[in-house]
Symmetry: C2
Subunit: 130 residues, 2 copies
Amino acid sequence: MALAFLASRPGAFCSVREIVDDLKLPKRLLAEVLKDMSRATLVDATRGPGGGYRLAMDAKTLPLSRVVEVLEGPVSIADCGDGCSLQPSCLIQTGLTQVTASIRKVLDNMTVAELLEQTDTPAAKAILSV
Amino acid sequence: MALAFLASRPGAFCSVREIVDDLKLPKRLLAEVLKDMSRATLVDATRGPGGGYRLAMDAKTLPLSRVVEVLEGPVSIADCGDGCSLQPSCLIQTGLTQVTASIRKVLDNMTVAELLEQTDTPAAKAILSV
DNA sequence: ATAAAATAGCACCAAAATAGTGCCATACAA
DNA sequence: TTGTATGGCACTATTTTGGTGCTATTTTAT
Ligand code: SF4
Ligand code: SF4
């Protein structure tokens, strides 16, 4: 939601306060998330009065898969890696890997810009008309 | 994994013991899961010696979406329903709904039979050759 | 009959993941 | 110099998930 908000104000630095005033999110929590995204260079940050965050790239080139990876790590539905003890007897590993790939493709193919544009609630329309 | 196992023994009743001997799963836990699936008529059950579980339908007609729904409820990545307090200011609801639909489509389009057939590990090949 | 093999039900505990805070440091602008 | 803002990181609280305890019921074989 915060990224969608930033996408609606391209180029402008928006403070956490501004964002949560609009979106009604817990302020401290969103602050932590934005810090994470800043560290991952998904957003730019500037401090001090007038500062805040802005998207580090065009929202049209920011797929949801990237966001998920930054916030939750690699897209996956089963951690076959790091030594799953069931692997030797597992009957579905490759199949699940394919399902995961399909899901990642879904997330690759939707951008933050689309996420916002596709949403037709009053709040989303209002912010787009500004 | 258990459903894939049952898919490899079509028509035959397999006990929890048999399944966990092969798949190395915690017995009691798998038992609970199979009970759930039995209640949801995903599998048939018979009691007593020689009893166990078998698929209630052809594995080729059992999509993963059905399995997920039975075990974890409706496929979703955000519970917009039952009164999300953020809904009035949410900028991404419709977009996320579309992502969810795409993911469900992925799960609709892979069956338990495919899940097993696609898997090319030694264990999976072995069970298929029997 | 009786014993043994299996599922049925359901509450309960334990571990892990997620949501959310506290606290202080640092940077920037007026 | 003061107020506004992000940076870092440990910490608590809540929820979800993984797993167990216990008992009842059904079925087959002796
Ligand atoms: S899919 Fe098979 S191998 Fe991968 S995590 Fe699940 S059990 Fe382990
Ligand atoms: S998407 Fe928007 S409406 Fe749906 S749950 Fe998340 S915040 Fe609430």
